[in-house]
């Protein structure tokens, strides 16, 4: 078998996710259930590589632990890591398993903002400091006042609640989730065309540099793409995003 002898523990597949793991990627912070997009992808990939559900071991890791030099405590790590050439120098990525457009979430005070670049420039922006959305924000939107950056989405949520920022940039599934469930009175006013960004929002699984298992996972993903498994998982767990207008 492809994965034989390439995993951390023989016969087991150790997969890392975030602490905590968020909706809609993992439901209820419980990847073991297989509920949620990434959890489902993980189990599908595992199955494709010949691991039973019982052979999948979940661990938690932060971004920092994922990129530290030296031995890792997981076979691969999936928590919406965008594939970038810079990151690729330090770690290895699988082929993309999802392509997420960036989307603009605005707070209750700015729901009437039109979805145009010109209008977006003038807003007070926030974003997550550990996310590729920062690059997008600075390079493409170029806001007139300095954006504020936060550690995680809960902090952005609080900043919108305190009226300290008008808008924030997320990947579209997250933005939709936050708007619907977390941030009262907020709205997703637009998304960027996904082909427009230079690969910044393609999610891949992360491996220790030079990990031989990558080939197996890539093969598994290719198989899942061609036989429609991946598309089916997406349809099950991801909200329909066609209602969100494109930003002009």
């Amino acid at each position: 078998h492809c994965a034989a002898g390439k995993t951390l523990t023989d016969g087991k597949l150790t997969i890392a996710t975030g602490n905590p793991a968020y909706f809609p990627w993992v439901l209820d912070d419980a990847p073991e259930s297989g509920n949620g997009f990434e959890a489902a992808v993980a189990y599908a990939v595992a199955a494709e590589m010949g691991f039973s559900e019982a052979d999948v071991v979940w661990v938690r890791s932060s971004f920092d632990e994922a990129i530290q030099p030296g031995a890792k405590n997981f076979d691969f790590n999936l928590q919406q890591y965008s594939i970038t050439p810079e990151r690729d120098e330090v770690v290895d990525f699988s082929a993309p398993y999802f392509t997420a457009p960036m989307a603009v979430l605005v707070g209750p005070g700015a729901v009437d903002t039109p979805a145009t670049m010109a209008a977006l420039k003038g807003l007070k922006w926030g974003a997550s400091g550990s996310h590729t959305s920062v690059q997008k924000l600075m390079n493409d939107i170029q806001p007139t006042s300095d954006p504020l950056l936060y550690g995680d989405n809960a902090d952005i949520n609080a900043a919108i609640g305190a009226n300290q920022i008008d808008a924030a940039l997320f990947d579209l599934p997250t933005a939709l989730f936050l708007s619907a469930v977390m941030i009262e009175g907020s709205k997703v006013i637009g998304q960027f065309a996904s082909d427009e960004s230079q690969g910044g929002d393609q999610f891949g699984m992360l491996f220790e540099d030079g990990n031989a298992l990558k080939e197996c996972v890539d093969d598994a993903l290719a198989a899942m793409t061609s036989n429609g498994t991946l598309a089916a998982i997406e349809a099950t767990w991801m909200q329909d995003t066609t209602g969100v207008p494109l930003i002009q």
């Binding site: 602490n19 905590p20 968020y22 912070d29 938690r60 890791s61 932060s62 920092d64 632990e65 530290q68 030099p69 030296g70 031995a71 995680d152 989405n153 809960a154 949520n157 609080a158 609640g161 305190a162 977390m182």
Partner: protein, 269 residues
């Protein structure tokens, strides 16, 4: 009753009155006026949410045990290393010049470098050099990072204490035939340590809180746990829970230290 006793009795009654009144006034102001602000309900839901607190508190306490353990093994090592560095920095003999330079560099660098970088560098960097498990444990190397950083701060405080002991005390002790080491141990340090207890108490409290920085390299202690809950629930109440746990530990500790100090100084004069 002497007239002084009479007077002090009256004074005490008066000051208790003032204390009670002012406390009540402040409390009333907070309890009445803050909830009248437009955003109070939201803030209350975010920061003082009973349901969230009840749900997260047990796990926070669980995680706090890790803090306590890391604290318990780091604090004594910090005290020892800090004291050694302080002594090395104060070495008078010219032959010990290299030691003095080295210890000065030590305090400068480890105070100057942000703790979190030290934690990353030592916690990720050293194991990254190729140590096998379990020697690459983040607990070991993270604690070492804390120990090095805090030793630098603690050493500076000890040094201030040593400097605050009047040189005539040294003279007197030396003249009795004590060696430099004995003078330091029996005469200078006891007075020095006493002078810096409040500052060192500061450090202990700060350390207790900075144990949380280890979470950057993996260990899930109380702060990381609170952060996880915060992210998951989009609610800051778990931090308030963590703060309560910290206060329950630190306030009695500081009060007790103050009490010991006060008793000590009463005994002497």
């Amino acid at each position: 009753m002497t007239r002084r006793e009479l007077f002090e009795h009256r004074q005490k009654r008066r000051s208790i009155m003032i204390a009670a009144t002012s406390t009540i006034l402040v409390l009333v102001a907070v309890i009445v006026f803050v909830p009248m602000t437009p955003g109070w309900e939201k803030v209350q839901k975010s920061f003082f949410n009973g349901a969230v607190l009840a749900k997260t508190f047990p796990r926070l306490i669980e995680a706090f045990k890790l803090n306590i353990m890391i604290f318990l093994w780091s604090a004594p090592l910090i005290a020892i290393l800090g004291l050694l560095v302080a002594l090395a920095r104060d070495a008078k003999s010219p032959a010990l010049f290299p030691l003095r330079i080295l210890s000065t560099a030590f305090t400068d660098v480890f105070r100057g470098v942000p703790v979190i970088l030290t934690v990353y560098l030592i916690g990720f960097g050293i194991p990254g050099l190729g140590l096998p498990r379990p020697w690459n444990s983040p607990y070991i190397w993270g604690s070492l990072a804390l120990i090095l950083t805090y030793s630098a701060y603690v050493a500076e405080i000890f040094r201030a204490g040593i400097d605050s002991v009047h040189p005539s005390q040294r003279s007197a002790a030396l003249s009795l035939g004590l060696s430099e080491r004995q003078v330091m141990r029996d005469v200078v340090l006891p007075q020095a340590v006493r002078n810096v207890v409040p500052s060192q108490m500061n450090m202990l409290i700060a350390l207790q809180k900075d144990v949380s920085l280890l979470s950057f390299i993996g260990p899930v202690e109380i702060f990381r746990q609170a952060g996880v809950f915060k992210s998951l629930l989009a609610n800051f109440t778990p931090y308030v829970g963590a703060a309560i746990i910290f206060l329950v530990v630190t306030i009695p500790a500081t009060r007790y230290a103050d009490y010991l100090l006060a008793r000590q100084s009463r005994e002497r004069s």
